[in-house]
């Protein structure tokens, strides 16, 4: 067992975890933040993307023990005061989701993209979302949603 102290969505959390607990396991099973989804569980599908210290990573492939002292933002941490984040609004407006399973990861990944590129081209959005797999939408409306968010942020 290891004791770790991290910050999740602005709240300080201190927990005793097993050595092999992944960040996705900590978020979902221990902190009950089930917005972070687990698809493939081997870092290919991107449903589990969260931000650690400001950068998007796949939480299924990070050990919680190794993140002691980090700041984590999950999909639950995007909205503020009951108001959706512009990226969430844009996914809703542009119908950038169907079943919604991949959406938390898509949104977290896209938010990270806009931190570094204010007005990405279609190609840049598609390249950036390479690690986020969606089996419903065909990606078209997801790209449209990211562009919509970029115009509002």
């Amino acid at each position: 067992m290891k004791k770790i102290a991290i910050e999740v969505n602005g709240k300080k959390v201190s927990k005793e975890i097993q050595d092999h607990t992944t960040l996705s396991g900590l978020l979902r099973d221990i902190l009950n933040l089930t917005g972070t989804h687990i698809g493939c569980d081997t870092s290919q599908c991107g449903a589990c993307v969260v931000h650690v210290d400001g950068k998007s990573i796949k939480s299924c492939t990070a050990l919680a023990a190794d993140l002691d002292g980090s700041k984590v933002t999950t999909i639950e941490g995007l909205a503020s005061n009951g108001k959706l984040h512009p990226m969430q609004e844009a996914f809703k407006k542009m119908h950038g989701l169907q079943c919604g399973f991949c959406t938390p990861g898509m949104v977290m990944s896209a938010v990270d993209l806009l931190k570094n590129k204010k007005n990405p081209s279609d190609q840049e959005i598609r390249d950036w979302l390479e690690g986020n797999i969606c089996r419903c939408t065909g990606y078209h409306n997801i790209v449209a949603a990211v562009k919509e968010a970029a115009s509002k942020m």
Partner: protein, 261 residues
């Protein structure tokens, strides 16, 4: 995933001391963690080397670029110094996996794993790399031994990889559309001392194609590659590409790389 004892080493000495034949060093974990989840690997001890400061960073001297073992792909891809000194190396890093993998995955982890379809091993071969460990300095040509095999000992920690800055170079790959691993990847580099053609994805281990290098030494142009025969013998054959197709792609991508130099 089977459980293990997690250790975060404070320095290389401690990391090496904790290591055994039943342990693995953890840098980005982009291969190690999925391998453990899939039951392909299990260890008694996982020794995290990410917090050892001296293992991370990029240094440029007159003739070489030295990259610390735990430097992330995204750091190499975005480094102004690497882009200036060896643009093909920054471009290679930008083409690994996806953004989230590049935010965690490290150069030392990539070469220690020596996946036959990984990108960095071809850069080590093409750019006459020296792999510095806590015990010794190893030439890239001697470092990569076979499929997922290197000459590293279980207690040996890669500290940094030193690449020679070439006169011209280019890395071109045919990526697997799902994983972005190389179905084949060709790294052509022209140095004052000679030409290397590092090839990944084609066989069980990265190699320097001496026939292609020889033809390019006589005439550094893509047309010089036309007359080189690439044998498919010993090449990988799987659901993604047959060995004949791979042999053909080695030639096509070698030409592409020379044209892009």
């Amino acid at each position: 995933m089977k459980t293990f004892n997690y250790h975060s080493a404070k320095d290389v000495k401690e990391a090496s001391k904790l290591a055994s034949s039943n342990s693995a060093f953890l840098a980005g974990g982009m291969t190690t963690i999925p391998s453990m989840k899939l039951g392909l690997a299990s260890y008694k001890d996982i020794i995290d080397i990410k917090r050892i400061k001296k293992l991370s960073g990029i240094k440029i001297s007159g003739k070489t670029v030295t990259i610390g073992a735990t430097t992330k792909h995204s750091e190499v891809a975005s480094s102004k110094d690497v882009k200036k000194a060896i643009p093909s190396l920054a471009a290679l890093a930008e083409g690994i996996g996806d953004p989230q993998v590049r935010n965690r995955g490290t150069i030392g982890g990539s070469i220690a794993n020596n996946d036959p379809a990984a990108d960095y091993p071809s850069a080590c071969i093409a750019l006459n790399a020296t792999i510095h460990t806590n015990n010794r300095s190893i030439d890239a040509e001697k470092f990569f031994r076979g499929m997922f095999e290197t000459c590293l000992k279980s207690t040996e920690v890669i500290e940094a990889i030193e690449f020679s800055i070439p006169q011209k170079s280019s890395y071109q790959k045919l990526p697997n559309p799902a994983s972005r691993y190389a179905i084949i990847g060709v790294y052509v580099a022209k140095h004052k001392t000679g030409i290397n053609v590092g090839i990944t994805g084609a066989k069980s281990c990265v190699y320097n194609d001496k026939d292609l290098a020889g033809a390019l030494t006589k005439n550094f142009s893509s047309s010089a590659i036309d007359s080189v025969k690439i044998s498919s013998s010993g090449m990988n054959s799987d659901i993604h590409a047959s060995s004949d197709y791979r042999a053909n792609m080695v030639k096509a991508f070698a030409k592409k790389a020379v044209d892009a130099c």
